[in-house]
Amino acid sequence: MAPRVIIRIQANAFDAAKETDALSSHHDDVGAISTFIGYCRSEGGRLAALELEHYPGMADDEIKRVVDQALQRWPLSAVSVIHRFGVMKPGDGIVFVGTASSHRAEAFAACEFLMDYLKTQAPFWKKEHRADGTVGDWVEAKAEDDAAAARWKINV
């Protein structure tokens, strides 16, 4: 059976529960599902919101490329990647990644790989909105994110 792939870039909130169910629903030999949800944080009350800008045409293409790499590398029966753009409040989900496989090691590895690559390759940028009402800085990329992506030794 061909893997079931869901890729969505949207302004609306996602329902992590529904997305998790969708990963197992078309197949009764799924043994393992790994999911990851990334949230907007207040950074200890400092932030009122994060604004996510994205490059519409490229975001979809780039996520497809990363998902294709994951499908080539691990035997996955389903992959979902949902990434939001726009203004998020602390506690709002920004990204959902889920993978389904027969065994746990593959599901975990693929899920972590997808997150590491989304962080460094997907064209999204976060701008801070401070709790004091001022517009803050653009979030800076972290060297540790590049290191996390580099350990998979794949050029996407």
């Binding site: 045409g57 064209p123 653009w138």
Partner: protein, 86 residues
């Protein structure tokens, strides 16, 4: 001269002052790096956007590109800071 669409994101967009534009690029501009240098010479906004070339990434027709990649045949070139999604 080559006609190209340029798009900018995040603080690169803020410094350049526009989100996108059509430009006629002189034929001496061959690579992504050449293009960034040529844009920098246009005005202070561009100069400020490209002042630290290590902090500006590029994509050619939605694919990540390196400074030495040729822009021949490109329709849309994007400049943006390192990505911070996820």
């Amino acid at each position: 001269m080559t006609e190209l669409k340029l798009v900018y994101f995040a603080w690169v967009r803020e410094r350049v002052g526009v989100a996108d534009e059509q430009v006629d690029v002189p034929s001496a501009v061959v690579t992504v790096e050449d293009l960034a240098r040529w844009l920098s010479s246009r005005d202070e906004g561009y100069a400020s956007a490209f002042e630290n070339p290590k902090l500006v990434r590029a994509a050619i027709d939605h694919v990540h590109a390196k400074p030495h990649d040729p822009i021949t045949g490109a329709r849309e070139i994007a400049f943006f800071p390192p990505m911070t999604g996820g």
